[in-house]
Subunit: 155 residues, 2 copies
């Protein structure tokens, strides 16, 4: 074990990206990036819990600061599902969407159905210049569909 938790290779990758965005390389940022990378769709609470495995004294507020800053730089993507705290993921460059199970709340990545650029060309944009189209699918995952009394089930 030569490194703390992440491999040196990924650490170097994050470091390079941080520098490219004019950010200093701190162990907090590396730990947050590693946590989000290994636990996609984790919320701030979960990220803090994971990060505390290596940085036991980090505060939730600091995790928020790091997450917010990394989201602004574009190194992280924030998903904000209804009735759920914001979730984060490291997949930022490909255009993909998300499916949320209305039964258990789990989130899965869904590749864009059409291609790369925003999937839909809306018919009437009211003069708006559309930059991104975020799609949130909602439905029942296989597990919840199997259970007898899941909320939102058709019968």
């Amino acid at each position: 074990m030569t490194s703390t938790a992440a491999s040196a290779a990924t650490t170097d990758k994050w470091s390079a990206q941080l520098r490219a965005h004019g950010r200093r390389v701190t162990k907090q940022r590396l730990a947050v990036l590693d946590a989000v990378d290994h636990s996609p769709h984790a919320g701030a609470d979960e990220v803090a819990a994971i990060v505390r495995a290596t940085l036991p004294d980090i505060s939730l507020q600091s995790v928020y600061v790091v997450l917010t800053d990394l989201t602004e730089t574009g190194m992280l993507r924030r998903i904000e599902p209804p009735h759920s705290p914001a979730l984060y993921e490291t997949r930022v460059d490909d255009n993909h969407h998300h499916a949320m199970c209305t039964g258990c709340g789990r989130i899965e990545d869904v590749d864009c159905a059409v291609g790369h650029a925003p999937c839909l060309t809306p018919s009437n944009t009211h003069g708006m210049t559309i930059q991104i189209a975020d799609v949130l699918y909602q439905g029942l995952c296989a597990d919840c569909a199997a259970k007898p009394d899941t909320p939102g089930k058709t019968s």
Copy 2:
């Protein structure tokens, strides 16, 4: 002036719908429905302010209760844009989406690009049974694009 604020016709329409959903017809519910109908994409605060024109003593909490209940019955639709309180609208039966201006935050309705049913058939649903696809477009409205220093502008 034979009615308070809404026309008797629309009031009757709401009343019938409320009864159809097994709900009692109260002036609070009618006022909230009327407010949301006349101010689409209004938040709970705004709805409360509008409702207070006819029911000055209604509390914000009661507005929340009514909005939540009507949303559960399907008479209202709730939109939850990032970094903004939940918004409500009375258009519930047609499948339409929303476009939010990243500059000023205004919300516009956007008709579904493809047709009626969920616009997109995702390529990989991880075993989920998709029921709805909610699309949130983000971009700059004409007003914000004209201003010189709008956040999110390309140059």
